[in-house]
Amino acid sequence: MNPEPAVILEQIRAAVPAARPVLLRNPGPAGQDSILLDTASAQDVFRFLKTAPGLEFDLLSNLTGTDWPEPATAHSVGVPPEIPPPPAQGFLEVVCHLYSTLRREGPLVVRMRTADRAEGAHLPTLTPVYRSAEFQEREVFDLFGVVFEGHPDLRRILMWDEFHDFPMRRDYVAPDDYEYEPTPHEAVWERAKEHYAVPDGTSETGAPAPPQSLGLADEAACEAACSPLREERDRLSPNPPASDREVTP
């Protein structure tokens, strides 16, 4: 059974007068409407949703992030056109799924949005209300760069501490770490062209080309090491070599 966000919205307005919740309609087939909270009173609203009789959303099952870049960035990184463009500023969004285990109801989708994608990427933490938010907020901080104010232990959780970027943002560019592929194609081919050596021995970027061999210092030694292996394989193989088969008259 799914909760009715429109009804819950009115209950929030009555119980937390400072809150300015907005109902976000979902026109898609799922029809899963959600509630957008303002950051100032978000903790009070979550505490109300958790404790109020008749609501009792006691389980924060999922807390994840979404990146809504400003239209120019969205266009340059190829966000599909069917996704509606956000306001000119762009923002990061945190989506929470609340369940009520007592009333067997859920999910109630609650969202919060940051002011922008840079210095204003701050949201209040939910960890004092829902303990299960602690690691999920660390993950959203790690991958999206949302700073949760009041979080008891806001560190990176998946990437290493020295990492300097937010990989799940749409404008993240991975380090150029091209590796040889026998048949590169499409995007990999475009990247490969930068790295392929031209015949004078240097790549187009000016870096010296790696050696043409497989990197074995002494190929003769390699051959010497491999030939007993081949003999062993031929000896163990049930099919004799082709030269032996022609003996039968």
């Binding site: 300097h164 991975a174 392929y196 031209v198 790696p210 497989l214 030694a221 010497a224």
Partner: protein
């Protein structure tokens, strides 16, 4: 000094085994591999299955997985190596005693597999650690691991312990340790050990733009 294979075969038929110390030592080493007990992803499940009763890796002399790298001489890199995990895997390799061997099991350990284009997965453990045997598959079946183990045993039995072509671990001058990468702001630094990892390149014609 190598044993004449014809003499060996003739004597074997007569019930006498002719061998050399080198062959004897290699035969013993190949049938007493001690794998390091660690798994990184789903390939580890197949590795565990290979050690259990149905596939029974003990038949090939590699049944006792050691929880300490000091007691192990075979590292089975079974699964996805993330960039965060890679320094620890390299450090474990350095802590293993010589002679030591590495099996890269599965697509992820070989090349990063389906995560190769991602931001957080190492594009193959051979960038940092010398790999002896690669076992393709996603994940490889236990039979494939057994086949890879037998291939490694064949390789060990062919190793020369003396002379100019002797194995790496038989030369005191060649260090067994490899440098451990450090965490950089965007990637591991260095992103590969060029001393042991040199992928082939395809020369490109100048007119192909």
């Amino acid at each position: 000094m190598a044993v004449d294979p014809d003499l060996q075969e003739t004597m074997r038929r007569a019930g006498v085994h002719v061998t050399s110390f080198e062959q004897l030592i290699d035969w013993g080493r190949s049938n007493s591999l001690w794998p390091l007990q660690f798994g990184l992803a789903c390939c580890a499940i197949e590795m565990i299955a290979a050690t259990m009763a149905r596939y029974d890796m003990a038949r090939f002399g590699a049944e006792v997985f050691r929880p300490s790298p000091r007691q192990a001489d075979l590292m089975i890199v079974a699964g996805t190596v993330t960039k965060k995990m890679a320094p620890q895997v390299v450090r474990l390799y350095n802590q293993m005693a010589e002679p030591k061997y590495v099996i890269a099991m599965g697509a992820c350990a070989i090349s990063g597999g389906p995560f190769k284009e991602g931001y957080n997965v190492l594009k193959g453990i051979d960038r940092f650690v010398p790999v002896d045997i690669v076992i393709p598959g996603c994940p490889p079946r236990p039979e494939a691991l057994l086949d890879g183990l037998m291939a490694l045993q064949t390789k060990i039995r062919q190793e020369k312990l003396l002379g100019p072509n002797r194995a790496r671990h038989a030369s005191a001058s060649i260090p067994g340790d490899v440098p451990v990468p450090i965490f950089g702001p965007h990637d591991l630094e260095p992103s590969a050990n060029r001393a042991i990892w040199n992928p082939p390149t395809i020369p490109r014609k100048p007119d192909v733009a």
